[in-house]
Symmetry: C2
Subunit: 325 residues, 2 copies
Amino acid sequence: MAKELDLLEELRVRADTVATFIGQYLSKREPSELYTAARHLLHAGGKRLRPGMAILSCEAVGGKPTSVIPAAAAIELIHNFTLIHDDIMDRDNLRRGYPAVHTLWGNAGAILAGDTLYAKAFDLTTRAPAPPAQIKECVRILAETSVEICEGQWEDIEFENRDHVSEDEYLRMVEKKTSVLYAASARIGGILGGAERAVVDALGEYGRLVGIGFQIYDDVIDLRTPEDVLGKNRGSDILKGKKTLIIIRAHEFGENIKIFGAKKASREEINQAIRQLEDCGSIDYAEEKAIEHVQTGKNMLKILPETKSKQLLIELADYMIKRRY
Amino acid sequence: MAKELDLLEELRVRADTVATFIGQYLSKREPSELYTAARHLLHAGGKRLRPGMAILSCEAVGGKPTSVIPAAAAIELIHNFTLIHDDIMDRDNLRRGYPAVHTLWGNAGAILAGDTLYAKAFDLTTRAPAPPAQIKECVRILAETSVEICEGQWEDIEFENRDHVSEDEYLRMVEKKTSVLYAASARIGGILGGAERAVVDALGEYGRLVGIGFQIYDDVIDLRTPEDVLGKNRGSDILKGKKTLIIIRAHEFGENIKIFGAKKASREEINQAIRQLEDCGSIDYAEEKAIEHVQTGKNMLKILPETKSKQLLIELADYMIKRRY
């Protein structure tokens, strides 16, 4: 617990630097309402785990944090762009306890706010204090990553309309939709920190595996965390008919979740469905999968020298499967 | 007329190269339906004036067309991304005579198809056969340009809900929404062709001015071109309540266009409104403004040596205010 508090404090210091940087960078333009919409979720907070991972990766290979701040900010902008557009597509009206961007500015406003952040992310990446060849590599990583995020989101939506999704298909979707941005964060931190290829690759693999663990565990949290901690209704993924690993596994066990995709259900029906998933072992199964991925991810860091930043990267990986929200 | 046919043939050759390049680049990925959606408008054709301008600019400064093909393709992808998202925002169900992307794949599909093209554009730019410093500059230009396009589109939508828009405000909006991508096309052609700063700047100014002329003239076409040539209903901008330069000028003349923003009107009412705009001189006024911008734009090319490519750039500028659709 003391360790976790230490990690969170270390992340907070770096998150604040990134938030200040983004605030200055996004503050000066017209039309001001567009930028208010674009900044909306950034102000709503979030843990900024991705820029944190980028900065720690840079430090862990001996680079200065200042080398990576603009790129780390770019990663956070890309993350926020995907949240804004995802909320339109998924018709989610709340995000981090605040109204979603499209709830306040309509679909058109939210599409443009997201598109603006997307472009700003690439602009920012070109402003990293680094040789052009490194910048070019970072731009390509972010572009390829963004493409994969779109592919993953497309599959996620498509899975909702399919009768059957296999565990492998689910894991590939999660990899694209979520883990590639963690992989990009760690890679870019390594590149701008001046690391050699093998180290950059190991960091990328660390980010990828930890990111998969993060996403699988997210679905565990959705079912196990009390609502007052969660900040949203428990079991919302079940009602939406999201084919998470937990649901896929339950189906493999032959379980029939009555309210799956039902849109609405009573609190008692939801609790009953969650108990059913607990009892058949599919939540435990997902948790174990998440732990496995995080463990394999941490092993990738063996290539790094022993530093405080490396230790924090390890703790960050562990945090993915310990957090309650 | 012979000249125009020559220009169109020269543009077609270059457009085909870019189309082939894009076709190969976008063909190999899963989920294939996402890429079908992303390619939809590219297949529907379009004149590809922007990549044409980029390639001609590269040639006109003595560069090889191959140096600029990936970046020219990137510009076309950004253009198509904006069309896809604009059609969602403007609720336009037809584009180039084909169903819009959101008509076929829904808003979520169209948002993702656009986002994918956007990211692919930056990926492509990093693949230009050029020194990293040039690539970095091109990425920054495309990113800044995309930001301005979003700002312009935001203002365009906002203008619809305002009582009064001044001519200056309109021109600034058009500059951001449309002309900056022409400016970027010419600049990037110059940069990747190896031109010095003053030449790159002159090309950028050429593209900017010609782009403004293009957009103003687009509104003239919407009122003067017969529907069978136009491929859509004449006067649709009037019904939508778009505050074009023509409408702004007519309001300044004290004209009251009855069906402005009326959504629906009979053919006779539309023809009557167009006659009213003709009679008060506001369509002529817009045409003159378009011609002025194109003329000033062409003057920027004086810095270039006399070549066939320079001549084609001049004809391309003239084409903006001669085309009928």
